[in-house]
């Protein structure tokens, strides 16, 4: 056990509600200073896990330590060392941002002066100083969420739980929240992040635990998870639909697995092993065969594909990502003519 270097350790967590088993022996280790993404569909047990780790819920079985303290027996110690940012902006809507932070500071038992000082620091850090005296009602979604993050950081806790922190935010607000989270992580905070958004986990997490029906079914870095289902792919879009069949033929020998052809988009997806060499091979065989390509892209599999592979079903939120191939992509547009 490396519990001295782990910010979060959970062993065999179980939780039932009536007859429904929500957690079925969940294990989790989050090293200090890292970001762990807890990824899973609705009802997989993400929020319940965070609830137990943040002392809101009691597990029926198993044990968990956060920042070195047992969540069941040393709840008060744990509560001084965690911040919880949930699915809603859990702040007072009538109070100003500053008044909210001072109130939370007082409830963490800072002196009035220390609470005010800390509130000002946090407002500045989360770029809310200008709006610090407006009621939270008047804030935009992204500002509320930043204030929410600030409220979770009053004691600069070593461990921060983010439970679907960007659910319901527009892309711009989402980026604001991501930037704020990255800044916290740079400062050494350990983050446990639950999300339905694969892109979010890909963007923020050092390691990802995929959970389904209350258990961790896969664990690793985003790259490891992607590699697990067959490594990289080269996507070729041919200029003329009539070339699809011929292209499939010449690309098959280059492929490390089954070539997938999509007639609607005129795209052929070729699994490859050696990234750079494979790209050169693809360009060469197309050129030799005289097939014009409109687009050639070398990419890692997306987490959507990983998820589909692991659970047999897409995560709940994937519908909101009609363009899943946004990250980790190297386009070589018009490389072959």
């Amino acid at each position: 056990m490396e519990s001295s270097k782990s910010a979060v350790v959970a062993e065999g967590l179980r939780k039932r509600y009536g007859k429904a088993t929500v957690l079925d022996g969940l294990d989790l280790v989050v090293p200090e200073g890292s970001v762990c993404g807890l990824l899973g569909p609705n009802g997989a047990g993400k929020t319940t896990t965070v609830g137990i780790l943040s002392t809101l819920l009691r597990a029926d079985g198993g044990r968990a330590e956060v920042a070195g303290f047992d969540v069941a027996r040393q709840a008060a110690q744990v509560r001084y060392r965690i911040g919880l940012v949930g699915q809603h902006a859990a702040v007072d809507e009538v109070l100003s941002g500053r008044q909210n932070l001072v109130m939370f500071g007082r409830l963490y038992h800072l002196s009035p002066a220390a609470a005010r000082r800390r509130a000002d620091e946090l407002l500045e850090r989360f770029r809310l100083t200008d709006t610090g005296s407006k009621p939270v009602k008047a804030y935009s979604g992204g500002m509320r969420r930043r204030l929410d993050l600030a409220a979770g950081m009053v004691l600069a806790p070593p461990v921060l739980f983010l439970d679907e922190p960007t659910t319901g935010l527009d892309p711009r607000s989402r980026n604001e929240v991501w930037d704020a989270v990255r800044a916290l992580v740079d400062g050494g905070t350990t983050v446990l992040l639950t999300t339905q958004y694969l892109e979010e986990a890909d963007q923020l997490a050092d390691r990802i635990s995929v959970i389904d029906t209350g258990r961790v079914i896969a664990e690793g870095t985003p790259d490891e998870l992607k590699r697990r289902i067959g490594g990289d792919r080269v996507d070729v879009v041919v200029r003329r639909a009539g070339d699809l069949r011929a292209a499939g033929g010449v690309l098959a020998p280059v492929a490390a697995g089954e070539v997938v052809t999509d007639e609607d988009t005129r795209q052929i997806s070729v699994p490859v092993r050696d990234r750079a060499a494979a790209l050169a091979d693809v360009v060469r065989v197309l050129d030799t065969a005289g097939i014009a390509a409109e687009d050639i892209a070398l990419r890692r599999p997306t987490l959507d594909e990983v998820f589909l592979h692991l659970t047999g079903s897409a995560p709940g939120a994937s519908a909101e990502h009609p363009e899943p191939h946004t990250s980790d992509e190297k386009k070589t547009e018009g490389a072959a003519a």
């Binding site: 929020t47 319940t48 609830g51 943040s54 002392t55 809101l56 819920l57 008060a76 110690q77 509560r79 001084y80 060392r81 965690i82 919880l84 949930g86 699915q87 809603h88 902006a89 859990a90 702040v91 007072d92 809507e93 009538v94 109070l95 100003s96 008044q99 109130m103 939370f104 007082r106 409830l107 963490y108 038992h109 800072l110 220390a114 800390r118 620091e121 850090r125 009621p135 409220a151 979770g152 009053v154 004691l155 600069a156 400062g187």
Partner: protein
């Protein structure tokens, strides 16, 4: 940017000190709402005043007080009790908003005294009720109502009214913790009227159909209404049933029962909230 973690409180005395400090912080939050949004508070204070004017002057002429007497003298103690009931709607609204916005979960994940969340709410609402009673007292005096009893009787009557409000606060906290959305609040606020009207607050239960009159007599609110009329020396409706004859006793017993039921329910619900 590290912040020193305060030491945990030691012993029951240390914990009590924290519980009081945290309860006060949460109460201050409620009071800050008053200063930031005075309109909401003023609206809440004006509503019973409007009811007094409506019932006192629109309907008052048609009302007959059993045994004679000024209807407004009869009405005002009833309106004191109704004000305590309307206050419960505000408790439900505030508690459920906190719960549904995740504020309650945030409080529960913090090292503050858990009792402070509910106690702070209760103290805020009690202060609000004191204010509402004071306003209605003044309005009552202006429309010809008077407390004819001794100072001690008057203080006792106010005490009974606040005792009822205290019990209803815990009922409101429990309902607020149960609510999943704003629909439930509308239901509670709508139900306040039939429940409040099915009492001796506005008319004598003897004027209602027999069975309905009996329900009205046994409505816990009626006991406080009757007891405060007695203590203020205002005309009552008489009534020779046991419950009508023991109004002052029951004005203590009913709130005690309500509190005994809803306080533990609220605490349990608070501890096991899932989100």
């Amino acid at each position: 940017m590290s912040v020193a973690i305060p030491d945990l409180p030691r012993g029951p005395f240390g914990r009590l000190r924290w519980a009081l400090a945290d309860g006060w912080t949460v109460t201050l939050r409620g009071l800050t709402h008053w200063s930031r949004e005075p309109g909401t508070v003023i609206g809440g204070l004006l509503f019973p005043v409007m009811m007094v004017l409506m019932f006192g002057y629109f309907f008052g002429g048609a009302m007959e007080v059993p045994g004679g007497g000024n209807y407004r003298e009869f009405l005002i103690p009833g309106m004191f009790v109704m004000t305590m009931v309307f206050g419960m709607g505000e408790t439900v609204t505030a508690v459920s908003a906190d719960k549904n916005r995740g504020v309650t979960s945030r409080f529960r994940s913090m090292p503050m005294a858990p009792s402070a969340v509910l106690v702070g709410r209760c103290v805020t609402d009690m202060l609000n009720s004191v204010l509402a009673l004071a306003v209605l007292f003044a309005v009552g005096l202006a429309v010809g109502w008077e407390a004819h009893g001794s100072v001690a009787d008057t203080v006792f009557a106010v005490g009974l009214l606040l005792l009822l409000r205290f019990a209803l606060t815990w009922m409101g906290i429990y309902f607020g913790l149960l609510m999943k959305g704003p629909e439930g609040i509308t239901l509670v606020q709508t139900l306040e009227f039939p429940v409040g009207f099915l009492t001796s607050a506005f008319v004598a239960p003897s004027t209602m159909p027999g069975w309905l009159g009996t329900i009205a007599e046994w409505n816990p609110l009626s006991s406080t209404v009757a007891a405060s009329r007695e203590l203020f020396g205002n005309p009552g409706w008489g009534g020779d049933s046991w419950i009508a004859q023991h109004a002052t006793l029951m004005a203590v017993v009913w709130p005690a029962v309500i509190f005994a039921v809803f306080f533990p329910l609220s605490v349990r619900r608070f501890r096991t909230l899932t989100g």
